[in-house]
Symmetry: C2
Subunit: 252 residues, 2 copies
């Protein structure tokens, strides 16, 4: 069997933020599998098959990729950012775990990428400069009660918070509910950021605060960051303020 | 003023995992500033000044870099992994925040990198495939009581846990204490990983469980991951098992 499956994180968007290992895997792939807009980011190559699918079909997509690799193809499954953070990697291993025994012998590699939270943080300064929690607000695969409980515990613990999948047409109210939970633990002046398409031409970044954060500022591509007690703004001469979280934490 | 400060994440080690934007910034730098072993990873260039310093001197290092940039030099401050995750970026902004007003006009950019947790997760499979918390176990800049409280809340919330700075000669007992806290919330079978130098020739990865995790397996370069209820092992034909965290969470 000469097939191979590479699970590839494309980084946030700019070619200068894609790892050379990812670029190499894409250049060698016979098949590129992924959500349509991510497949579209891969440079086309003659003879390469592209399998673009809709959002929310992760498990079917993972099975297709594994089946192609088992048939001897060199396959790249692509995600934006890093494949391991609310992207395709866990779907691939779920499919492997429940799949035909022959798949256990497949050559698989996961090529890490610069995740959205890392790219957004760099653009802002250093808001992830202290302990932080990363949550998906989607309740498609976990009960909303679990999300609520995790939000309350993370907010109580003083972690900086990063939200993936904050909102969608099918999940319109969850981000507002999440803000309300965090407001029980943090003052209205707490910095909040809505960021999308960082490093791409259509990049948008909004810095606001918890008191006035409006869920309507987010869509399904947005990463939302909420600061903690040590998160501070620094005015900048020629641009939006820098945002960073101090390394020092005061005694409770 | 023509100086510029680039805060650069080098990625975990392999050149194929360093972003082209980072490589470009290093090639243009007049001065490279950082912890000795990280400066040593930057290819030498004639005429480039290298300022290697000891560990735990982050703020002095940040001030040096800002002063050099204010004097008109092109400066790169380097960190392993990503500069924004328990590395130099927050120290740079702390120094800026308390520094001379002229520094507010400096051109600064933070170039994101593949952080250790992302690289380790990719090597293992997809252990960060659901909600996770990232903590530094160092109590140099925050009281241990804060670390304990955060650990307990994150463990209670069912987050996957990633620990940076788990142990050092000056902090020998903290990792053992952290395991004890997590053991109050998770069964002994919970997967635990010790990983160091991922993607480098001296890479080490140990997969064990919470019942038998021994803090002596870590040193100051180690990243420690602790799984959650949904974290599973998949046997692999020709290597260590894959580790992933399922996307689905059962009702509480």
């Amino acid at each position: 069997m000469t097939g191979r499956l590479s699970v590839v994180g494309l980084g946030p968007g700019a070619a200068a933020l894609t790892a050379p290992a990812a670029t190499a895997a894409l250049a060698q792939a016979d098949d590129v599998v992924g959500y349509g807009p991510y497949v579209a980011r891969v440079p086309e190559r003659p003879g390469q098959q592209r399998h673009a699918s809709d959002n929310r079909e992760e498990l079917d997509r993972a099975r297709l990729a594994l089946a192609l690799a088992a048939a001897g193809r060199k396959v790249a499954v692509v995600s934006s950012g890093d494949a391991g953070v609310f992207a395709m990697a866990s779907a691939v291993f779920e499919a492997l775990d429940g799949g035909p025994p022959a798949w256990a012998a497949l050559e698989i590699e996961v090529i890490p990428g610069i995740s959205a939270m890392i790219a957004v943080a760099a653009r802002l300064g250093a808001p992830l400069g202290n302990d932080f929690c990363v949550l998906s607000l989607s309740d498609n695969l976990k009960p909303w009660a679990v999300v609520e409980r995790r939000l309350a515990l993370a907010a109580e613990g003083g972690f900086v918070l990063a939200f993936y999948n904050p909102i969608s047409r099918a999940r319109p109210w969850q981000l507002g509910a999440a803000f309300d939970i965090v407001r029980q633990h943090r003052p209205p002046s707490t910095p909040v950021v809505f960021a999308a398409a960082v490093s791409r031409p259509d990049e948008t970044i909004l810095i606001t605060d918890l008191g006035s954060a409006d869920p309507a500022a987010a869509d399904m591509r947005t990463l939302v960051l909420i600061g903690c007690e040590g998160t501070r703004l620094i005015p900048r001469a020629d641009g939006p303020p820098w945002l960073y979280t101090a390394r020092r934490v005061a005694p409770p």
